[in-house]
Assembly symmetry: C2
Homo-oligomer: 212 residues x 2
């Protein structure tokens, strides 16, 4: 294969991809074709992994009962988070739509095999969490590959992870990382929904190096 | 801003970016211009973060003594990892070059503020690790943006993270995630070095969905 040279035009589009990638909570219900979902998983598996361990496990939820149980898990976890807030913040929090689980045509749970034989432990002796972090980079790869195809992804983390493992009959050495809602987004935006709704803003100080 | 439409040609190049992104351990010593490093950090801050918390902290190491101390940290951690292996595997491990710290012109340490006020705790009540995972996605964004500019990144994880925090005089609530070697790579490749050297191979089963 020829070594690729990435053009200025590609860099501009890659920047656009980063700018327009959103955490989507408003979906159309029309499904994404299987061929496209499979292409996304193929791209995902090009993600970096410590020792080439490929510890990610992508689970496509097909059973309506399981989707429903995951929705209940979210509703209860979200209610607990709201209970812990008070005053104006609680009111504001209650208005936020924090999951597209009702409409999204595809629910994908992502796990990490936290003790994989693949990779023979290379790179993780002193920092075993690098295994989990490899699976997180796979999620991010999925997210970018989806956005580039006009497909929205919403990462739901307001969940009880142990209950999620039981609901989805997951083996004990797999750690629950993410529940992804996937489908065509109702709208695109170049700013985060939490910023548009006044919850939080980007901090320009993050774009500065800290020197040592 | 106009909603971007990503062309088939962009998708092909994005695939090439994922395919050719490598964990680089062989660098030229010529430095990357500051303007380019700054552009990379700017792109990095477009990464997703839980509750828009932007918990990543990017530290550029300038002090030669600190770079040297980090190299020693690697040498000792790597020796400990080797001690735990035996027979053919130990011999093979000993031949692998697992860090480009000697030649890479830039050393960047990445931390996560594990309890940020920014984001007001949204999305992390039941899964607090999502904060760390946001910073990991920022590292991955940096990696992709660098690769697209012909710049190599090598993630060194064979380190004692607590010692790294002391060496770099880091505040207590920041967690050490990664030590990145950054510079122009000596060569490009579309397969991982660990695969070319026979340490590990990609597993095609990872490209299949698990159904529930």
């Amino acid at each position: 294969m020829t070594v690729p040279v990435f053009t200025p035009s590609f860099l501009k589009d890659l920047d656009r991809l980063f700018v327009w990638r959103r955490d989507v909570r408003h979906f159309h219900s029309s499904p994404v074709p299987d061929t496209v979902l499979n292409a996304l998983l193929y791209e995902t598996c090009l993600a970096p992994s410590v020792g080439l361990s490929e510890p990610w496990r992508f689970v496509l939820i097909k059973t309506p009962e399981r989707k429903e149980a995951m929705k209940q898990n979210f509703i209860e976890s979200n209610a607990r988070d709201l209970e812990g807030r008070c005053g104006e913040e609680a009111k504001h929090y209650a208005t936020l739509k924090l999951s597209g689980m009702d409409e999204a045509p595809h629910h994908i749970a992502v796990f990490c095999d936290i003790n994989p034989t693949q990779g023979r432990g290379l790179g993780r002796a002193s920092m075993p969490e690098t295994t989990t972090w490899s699976a997180v980079m796979a999620i991010h790869t999925f997210w970018l590959a989806a956005t580039a195809r006009g497909i929205g992804v919403g990462w739901v983390s307001i969940l009880d992870p142990e209950l999620a493992c039981r609901t989805l009959s997951i083996e004990p050495n797999w750690r629950f990382l993410a529940y992804l809602c996937v489908g065509y987004p109702q709208k695109s935006a170049c700013t985060p929904e939490l910023e548009r709704l006044g919850w939080e803003r980007r901090n320009p100080n993050r774009r500065k190096w800290i020197y040592r």
